[in-house]
């Protein structure tokens, strides 16, 4: 099965929550120098919950789609819920099988999230 599923391609071609938030509560930027991928994640938190999440960045389809899907997911989630997100969650969310090298692309936004 192709890793370029309809869902992945949709989020790559039409990334959700792309951009910056005005006066975000937290921001984090991560990059992978091996391929030059970059993800900058910013969130606005109110009463312990994410009210807004956006990302900016450049990279491959997998890292863009992964960032897009993650920013959608974390809206209205509590900070505790964010802490529980892990690699397994990301793989399930993306719904594709990735090899040892490409998994790094998919996990880049999670890395940014953990740095918030």
């Amino acid at each position: 099965m192709s890793i370029y599923s309809e869902l992945i391609l949709d989020h790559y071609q039409h990334p959700r929550n792309f951009g910056k938030i005005d006066r975000p509560t937290k921001t984090a930027k991560v990059s992978n120098p091996l391929c030059g991928d970059e993800v900058e994640l910013c969130v606005k938190i109110a009463k312990g919950k994410v009210v807004e999440a956006k990302f900016k960045g450049k990279g491959c389809a997998i890292s863009i789609a992964s960032s897009s899907m993650l920013t959608q997911y974390i809206k209205n989630k509590s900070e505790l819920e964010l802490k529980n997100l892990d690699k397994e969650f990301m793989i399930k969310m993306l719904g594709i099988e990735l090899g040892v090298n490409r998994i790094k692309c998919a996990l880049l936004p999670l890395e940014a999230l953990k740095k918030l």
Partner: protein
Amino acid sequence: MTSCYKMNKLKKDFPIFNNNPKLTYLDSTATSLKPKSVIDKLVEYYSQYSANIFRGVYKISEKATEEYEETRKIVADFINARKDAEIVFTRNTTESLNLIAYSLGREIVDKDDEIVTTIMEHHSNFVPWQVLCLEVGASFKVIDINDKGYLDLELDDIKYKKSNIKNTYQILKKIVTEKTKILTLTYISNVLGTINPVKEIIAAAKKINPKIITIIDAAQAVPHLKVDVQDLGCDFLVFSSHKMLGPTGVGVLWGKENLLKEMFPFMYGGEMINEVYIDRTIFKDPPHKFEAGTPAIGEVIAFKEAIKYLKTIGMDKVREHEKKLALFCLKILRREFGNRLKIFGPIDENDRGGAIAFSFGKYHPHDIASILDEEKIAVRAGHHCAMPLHNRLGVNATVRASFYIYNDENDIERLIKGLKKVEKILA
């Protein structure tokens, strides 16, 4: 293009194609595939005489020693070394370069001295020298490239081809000085594919500074064209077995005998000593002085089968084949994709080897490589261990397709089909 199809027949000698019939392997610059004769030789050693070398006085150890030393002879002959003793077996090109940096570099390079290299080097011929310079306070000088992918020796393409000692000297004089202790450069770029006029550069450098030590990283050259160390006039030349049909775990360091004799060992231990006392040790002569510990015996033994295979084809034919494939690939890439695809490195196939790096539209190299992989096409995506070069080119990563003797036009046509699929999926 008839010879390409004729060469295609070689695929049957490579068992990997029996096990992966649809594989289009375009990553020989990273590592080459192995013919059956090499694999058989490995099995022969491990199943018939897998003893350690040198120490044993029994038959199978003597057999293993003879086989091991025979490879040294065949390697020496292959690159026209004056003596077998000038061939040192290491783990790979990287270890060969580090050995020179440690054993010779740290002896001869002092504060205010210079080491000269180029921006198109693989990290293994860049970082060891950069670190050495930082350690001792020497100056690290890097020859740039021009926009066409040639070393920036201020020669345009036509002059580059006809470059001779006289004009190379004029330009190199601005970079290489009497303080330059070492000039180290690649023969063929693993990204741009550029074949550097190393003979002319060495001659010019030696004219400026007769004491200069010249080192050639020939990891991408020895597998692909005829290399004659005496003709090139360098002091050291290094390469790896695994990029030229041989096993992994074997590198070659060729050095002039007098230099190897003067150098300190890189590692101490078994095999490399004559006598050990509590207060001192007497080392063996080269090459054994540099081969501490049990080496990759079976792999060295099988390496000679790779050289025999290449010699049967003939290195001139190998080069001719790759030139034809490069020309075919460059032409068809331009025809099919025009400006959407940017090729890095010389566009003249006479000046380049069989590695073609490119960027394609807005598509990320990782996505291109993944989609090609779904079509069983193996290419490489990334900076190919040449980050300074990619920074110079202004890109984070490229896709690289590279050819060897077992490739043919069909492989390139499959690549084109694969790239069309990339456009279809990601556009």
